[in-house]
Amino acid sequence: MASSLQWLELLIGYVVCIAVGLFALVVIWKILKGDIDLNLLISEKTGDKTGSASMSRFQLLIFTFVIALSFFLIVISNAKLLQTDANVKRTQGPMMPGLPEIPGGVLGLLGISASSYTVSKAIQSNTPTKDDAGAPKAP
């Protein structure tokens, strides 16, 4: 019984792994072909059609890659450690790797970035534009 469950677990593992791989391959292929347009990935509307690049969005992009890479490295490293431990302590039952705790400092880092983006947007929306200057004043 346990053996058939293990087979099922393995089968589901392979199916999910292949599905995620194919999905990622399609996404990257479409980006390279130009079907998924990344032109305005870090831009925001400025009145003209092209938009101008936003420092806040660029910062969020960098932090996203940093956190994703760190998360992956930590999970894999913990899984390998548990695998080594499991070989030594087989008597203690199955050991499952948990997701790593995210420390307050990382949340603070993302919080500073997000707050700055919000304040920056508030300043931008309260700044009179060319159109405001040309428009007739309300009575």
Binding site: I62, S70, I76, G105, S116, Q124, T129
Partner: protein, 113 residues
């Protein structure tokens, strides 16, 4: 199981680096619009070279590099971000927002005159 774990490891690594390479490649080839990244904009549409954006970019890159370096040294837990880095990044954002606020204030004053 060990083969499946290896497969997951290499697949995730490949996906992450392929995405990273794609984004970085598009940033440098012009596929992703970076015009105006280092330029501030006043309300009347004029742009100016913005040193506060440059310092924010440099501090961000330094903080990201430092964090990845810390993870690579001890990849078992998320490393704590030190108070110094948080203060540095906070001050950098304050300078950036201060510059933006100053430009907005001047624009508002000029438009009301």
């Amino acid at each position: 199981m060990s083969f499946l774990m290896n497969l997951i490891y290499w697949e995730t690594l490949l996906i992450l680096f392929a995405l990273l390479a794609t984004v970085v490649g598009q940033l440098f080839s012009g596929g992703i619009n970076t015009q105006g990244l280092l330029l501030g904009r006043t309300g009347n549409g004029n742009t100016y070279f913005s040193p506060e954006r440059v310092q924010l970019l440099l501090i961000t890159l330094a903080a990201a590099f430092q964090y990845v370096n810390a993870v690579l040294h001890k990849p078992t837990t998320f490393p704590e971000v030190s108070g110094t880095w948080l203060a540095l990044l906070g001050s950098s954002h304050a300078v950036y927002l201060g510059g933006k606020f100053g430009a907005a204030f001047l624009t508002r004053r000029n438009s009301s005159n």
